[in-house]
């Protein structure tokens, strides 16, 4: 990473691979050979190695959290939050973000090459969990020489990883900032994911996941993304953005794209197909659905061993990950006497708010991190 005089951070994706022949053990008991992780870093690791912050991305995100890739016009997915003087201040902290395993942006996933036969894995890629994503990130930070993380943070599925980190590695995680997420997927959350998966699998081009090198299941993946986008917005934000606006002068008598909202969803679906792999969509949504920190026990017991400070953030109009789910986490933390700050940010943007309400998120995260850094004895 370098900072140009215009304060534009130039970012570059790097890769880490486990030593050849080494098996990466998954929660399912299956193993993955030649694990590869795409990652980016911003800022500098200090001499004490005490300023590392790990950011975890959501379903369709990637390792490119901030700055600009050379020649790109769009910055990383959390760019307004990461950089010199920003909430995740790269003048102070060493910020790391990696692509999850099962993803399609450089880390091992169904579109990577299976070393045993030289062909893309497709459905022969093993099922992965949120815990596996976390364990892969742990491999990466060990490789980077980091023993403790000042903070793990992320929104949506990134927040699941952050919570999983705090529970799985309580002695490594100094602080945890889960945003707009949950500790387990509810029936409704699983249901929306299943509609997306069915749309992909109903596309003849999907061909049981074996489509690499041929026609891709773009219709199916596009519909899956359209369903997703509906759940990311609130009814108010959709009304504000589109209302009943139509694209032509008047309504027609057919099934063409008439309403602005239809056009928007189709555009979103079509552009997603160009940058995302349908099989990855299946694997990642399954990992989210399987995510359940509580299992059959009490949520209170889940956080018994936790040593981290927590900043928990929800958004008032988020109906996909409603505040009530993280409030249960906050209660479990309090019952354990754990240091927690909770804020429900009032916003109209629905679930998307975690990628839009930068100003308010920054206010909370910036000072919370500073305090954590101070407490950790910089």
């Amino acid at each position: 990473m370098e900072t140009t005089d215009a304060q534009i951070m130039v970012a570059e994706t790097k890769f880490y691979s486990t030593p050849p022949g080494e098996d990466f053990l998954l929660e399912s008991g299956l193993t993955l050979k030649d694990l590869r992780i795409a990652y980016e870093t911003y800022g500098k690791l200090n001499a004490e190695r005490s300023n590392a912050v790990l950011l975890c991305h959501a379903l369709s995100g990637d390792a490119h959290a901030a700055g600009y890739h050379k020649g790109d016009k769009k910055p990383g997915w959390w760019d307004p939050m990461v950089g010199p003087g920003k909430a995740f201040d790269t003048d102070k902290y060493y910020v790391i973000c990696s692509n999850i395993i099962g993803g399609c942006k450089g880390s091992s996933g169904p579109n990577s090459i299976n070393p045993s036969n030289g062909k893309p894995y497709g459905l022969s890629f093993p099922i992965v969990s949120v815990g596996d994503m976390v364990n892969a990130q742990k491999k990466l930070i060990e490789f980077l020489g980091i023993e403790r993380l000042l903070c793990v943070s992320g929104g949506s599925m990134g927040g699941m990883q952050a919570l999983d980190w705090a529970v799985r590695y309580p002695d490594i995680v100094e602080s945890c900032i889960p945003v707009a997420t949950t500790y387990k997927h509810s029936a409704q959350q699983i249901a929306f994911n299943e509609v997306g998966r069915q749309a992909i699998m109903a596309d003849p081009a999907w061909n049981s996941g074996d489509y690499y090198g041929g026609e891709i299941p773009s219709r199916g993946l596009s519909v899956a993304r359209m369903v997703g986008h509906i759940t990311y917005m609130s009814s108010e934000s959709m009304d504000q953005k589109f209302g009943r606006m139509i694209k032509e002068e008047k309504l027609g008598y057919g099934f063409t794209t008439e309403f602005e909202v239809e056009g928007y969803l189709r555009y979103r679906g079509d552009s997603f197909v160009k940058r995302f792999d349908a099989n990855s969509y299946l694997y990642i949504t399954k990992a989210m659905d399987h995510f359940d920190l509580q299992k059959d026990g009490k949520l209170y017991d889940v956080f018994k061993a936790s040593r981290s400070r927590f900043l928990v953030i929800t958004f008032s109009s988020d109906w996909l990950y409603p505040p009530v789910q993280l409030k249960e986490v906050v209660k479990a933390l309090k019952m354990n006497g754990i240091d927690v700050t909770y804020c429900e940010i009032s916003s109209n943007y629905g679930h998307d708010a975690f990628l839009l309400e930068f100003e308010v998120e920054s206010k909370l995260i910036k000072f919370f991190l500073e305090k954590t850094f101070q407490k950790a004895g910089r």
Binding site: K334, T341, V360
Partner: protein, 200 residues
């Protein structure tokens, strides 16, 4: 509302600070922008956290480095285990709680001691307005008109003492304030604010 809004040390904060043991665990119910908590952290080395309903006040607390939870007092107390805290503080917030009796019972469950600061509704200024002017008092301490007050309950020093006796609550300390002075004589008439430390 509250005693006196000024930048320098508020007398009620000093009084509460004198009640609280150094290094203790404190929960401030309705902590606002965190001024009292910040004072207690800085001067008494407490491990403090707060509960606050106002979103903008939460941002101010976090900016001060405080741990605070967004929520209301009535439902917020149930989230904590028995005797986690040394002190639960309600400073100028008890009169806004929906169910004060339940809140105090819950506070005595999660805290070893409870500190309650409230405006004395039977202060002489209020009584004068009642008696001579025939309207519900609007004073420095109770600055709200009846139609837009956040206060749900109105109590006096005497009322609180009576409540404590009835509930078997021990009053450990009581301090009375009139504006920026301590009051030792006829508090139910002369004190604009009262601060009680109770336990059970």
């Amino acid at each position: 509302m509250a005693v006196k809004k000024k930048k320098d040390l508020r007398l009620d904060h000093k009084v509460i600070g004198d009640m609280v043991d150094r290094g203790s665990m404190v929960l401030d119910m309705g902590c606002g922008e965190g001024d009292l908590l910040e004072y207690l952290v800085r001067n008494k080395g407490v491990k403090g956290s707060g509960v606050e309903i106002n979103e903008d006040a939460i941002y101010m607390c976090v900016e001060k480095g405080l741990s605070v939870s967004h929520g209301d007092i009535d439902s917020g107390l149930a989230d904590y285990p028995d005797k986690l805290f040394d002190y639960i503080i309600f400073n100028q917030t008890m009169q806004q709680v929906k169910k004060p009796r339940l809140a105090i019972t819950e506070a005595l469950r999660i805290g070893k001691k409870v500190i309650i600061g409230f405006p004395n509704f039977c202060h002489i200024n209020a009584r004068m307005q009642f008696f001579f002017m025939g309207h519900v008092p609007v004073t420095t301490n109770l600055p709200y008109e009846w139609y837009d007050t956040p206060n749900l309950h109105f109590l006096s020093v005497k009322d609180f003492e009576r409540f404590s006796r009835k509930e078997g609550i021990t009053v450990e300390k009581r301090v009375f304030i009139s504006r920026d002075r301590l009051v030792g004589f006829m508090p139910n008439l002369l004190a604009s604010d009262a601060i009680f430390q109770i336990s059970k």
